[in-house]
Amino acid sequence: MSSRLYNWLDARLNLKPVQRTLLDEPIPGGASWIYVFGSVTLFLFVLQAATGMFLALYYAPTPDHAYDSVRFIETDIFLGWVVRGLHHWGASAMVVAIGLHMLQTFLYGAYKAPREVMWMVGVCLFLIVMTFAFTGYLLPWDQTAYWATQIGINMVGTVPLIGDIASRVLRGGEILGALTLSRFFAIHVLFLPAILLTGIAVHLFVLRRVGPAGPWTDDRASLGAETFAPRQVYMDAVVIAGVFLVVAALALSIPLPLTDKANPSDTSFVPVPEWYFLFYYELLKYVHGPLEPLATWVLPLCVILVMLFWPFIDRNPVRNPIRRPVALGSGLLFLLVVFGLLGISIRNLYAVPRADPAVARGKAVYAQLGCVGCHRIHGEGGAVAPDLSTVGDTRPDREWHLKHFRDPQSVSPGSFMPKFPLTDQQLNDLTSYMLSLKRAT
C-alpha cells in the first residue's frame, strides 16, 4: 500500500533522487554509535517543539494568568502534567545531548578544516538553546522563575556601556513585569524557534557540503564508506527511542511542583537556577566586589569567544586525540572546572541530609516557631542571634541542645533566647535538625 503510494508519487514528483540524497549520504569508515548525538539533539528539539505547542494551548503569558494557567495544565488537563514534564526534562536532555555532541566533535577533531563553519554554527545553536532555557524558565511566573530571571537580567546589567540599555530592553522597561513576561514568551515560542530552525538548516547544509568527518585516522584513502541508511538510521533511531523512554520516565516519576506565585515584594526568596546553570551560579558566589564583572560578563564572553573561534585557535591539523595533548588538556581542564563547580553546588544544595524524618520535622518546627526571625541558616534569617548554618559542627552534643531548648539560660548564661513550650517530640526533632546542620563534607 505505502509502496504503491510512493511509486505513484515518485512517477510524478521524481522522488528517488531526493531519497538518495537524504539516505545514501556516505559515512567515511561506516556507521557508528558514537555519531548518534546530533540526531538525538535534533529529535529532542522536535520533542520540545511538539510539547511546547501543546502547552501553548493553555498557557497565558500575562502576570495575572501565567501562574494559574500553568497550574491549570498541571491539575485540570488530563495528562497535562506529563506534557509539562516532557518539556521540562526534554530541555535538560537537550543540554546533555548537545554536550555529548560537542564532546564527540571535539575528541574526534571534527571541527578542523574544512568543518570550521559547521562548528561555529553549532556553537551558535548551543547559545540559542541556552537562551531558550533562560526565557522558558520565567514563563511559569512562580517565585523561582521571577527571582532567577531578575538575577539573570541584573547580570546583563553589569556589562559596561551597553549593560544598562540591554537589561532594560530585556525587561521591556525598568521593572520585571507584564512586558518582560510577554516578550520572554514571544522570544521563547516565536523568535528563537525561527532562528534555531534557520541555524539547524545551515548546520545540516554545511554538513552535506563537507560531509561527515568520520574516524580520526590519517590514512583517509584506506577508509571505506557506508551509506547513512539503513545502519546509521537504525542506530540513531534506537538511541532516540532510548532517550525518549528516559525523558518519559523522568516526566512520569518526578513531579514538578510550582513554588508560590511570583511576589515582587518578597525579597527574601533565594532562587536556584536549573542544574545546567548551577556551575555558573556557584562561580558567582566566589567573586565579589570589584572583581564581580569578571564573573558576570568578562569570563562568559571569553569562554563563548574561545568556543566560537576554537577551530582557528587550535591550528594543529592532526585529528587523533592522542597527538593533540594541548587541545585535549585544555578541554579537560574546562570540563573539570565546570563539573567541579557543578558538584560543589549540588553538594551545597543538598547539604541537609533528608534521610532522617526527624530532621525534616525539626525543620518544620524551626519554621513554625519563627526561629528564623533571629537566627540565620545559609544566609536566610535574622542576624541578632547566632548563625546556625554549621551548628552541628560547633555544638555536636545532643544533650546540650536538649538542655538549651528547655532552658536556654541554664547552659548559655545571659542569652536572650526565650523558653519555648516544646513537646518532647518537638524537642527531639528540633535537636536532630540542629545536629544535621554541618559544613558540607
Binding site: P26, F54, Y58, H65, D76, I77, L79, P230, A237
Partner: protein, 184 residues
C-alpha cells in the same frame, strides 16, 4: 568507524557499501519499531491534553434566585441567576435571568430564557398574556407550550427545587432548533 566486528555487505555499483538482504530488513524494522514507540508514546499525552477539555462537564450548582413568596401565582417573573463559573483557569461571575412561573397549586416551573427556535432571548407580554420572541415571532403560553411561530418545541425547563422558602435553580444550556430538549 574502523574496526567494526561486522563489515557491511558490499553492494555492487554506487561506490559505497550498504547492508543488503536480511540485515537490511532487520535495520529497517528496528527503525520503524523505534519510530512507532516514540510516536505512540508522544501522541498519547499530546492528544490527551488537546482533547481533555472537550470531555470535561461544567460543574453545575444550585443557585438561590429568590424567595418563593415573592412569586405571583400564575404570572411569570424574571429572576436573576448569578453564579461563579470556572472558565479554564479563570473564575468569572455569570449573570443569567430565568423565567419562573408559580402554578396556582404552588408548584414552580422555571424556564430557560432562551427561545427554542434559534436561541434569542424572549420576554413576557402582559397585554397578550404570552411569551414573545422578538427575533422570529415565536410565542409560548404561560406553561411554555408553543402558541405560534417557528419554535420547534416548548420552552426548556430548568431543574428547580424549594428549600426553606427559597427557590434554587440549576442553569443549563440546550441545543436550539430541535424538536426535543437536548442539553449542551
Amino acid at each position: 568507524m574502523a574496526g567494526h566486528p561486522e563489515q557491511p555487505d558490499q553492494q555492487p555499483g554506487g561506490g559505497f557499501s550498504t547492508p543488503v538482504g536480511s540485515r537490511r530488513t532487520f535495520f529497517h524494522w528496528v527503525t520503524l519499531a523505534a519510530a512507532g514507540l516514540v510516536g505512540v508514546g508522544l501522541s498519547i499525552p499530546l492528544l490527551s491534553t488537546l482533547m481533555s477539555p472537550a470531555f470535561q462537564r461544567r460543574q453545575r450548582a444550585w443557585v438561590d434566585v429568590g424567595a418563593v413568596d415573592d412569586l405571583p401565582a400564575g404570572h411569570p417573573k424574571q429572576l436573576d441567576h448569578v453564579t461563579t463559573v470556572r472558565d479554564g483557569w479563570l473564575e468569572t461571575t455569570s449573570h443569567k435571568a430565568v423565567w419562573a412561573v408559580k402554578q396556582p397549586q404552588g408548584d414552580i416551573r422555571v424556564f430557560s430564557p432562551i427561545c427554542t427556535h434559534l436561541g434569542c432571548g424572549y420576554r413576557w407580554d402582559d397585554s397578550e398574556n404570552k411569551f414573545l420572541c422578538p427575533c422570529h415571532g415565536s410565542s409560548y403560553d404561560v406553561n411554555g407550550q408553543v402558541l405560534g411561530g417557528p419554535a420547534p418545541r416548548p420552552l426548556d425547563t430548568l431543574p428547580s427545587k424549594v428549600e426553606g422558602g427559597r427557590l434554587l435553580v440549576m442553569y443549563k444550556d440546550f441545543k436550539s432548533g430541535l424538536p426535543t430538549s437536548v442539553e449542551l
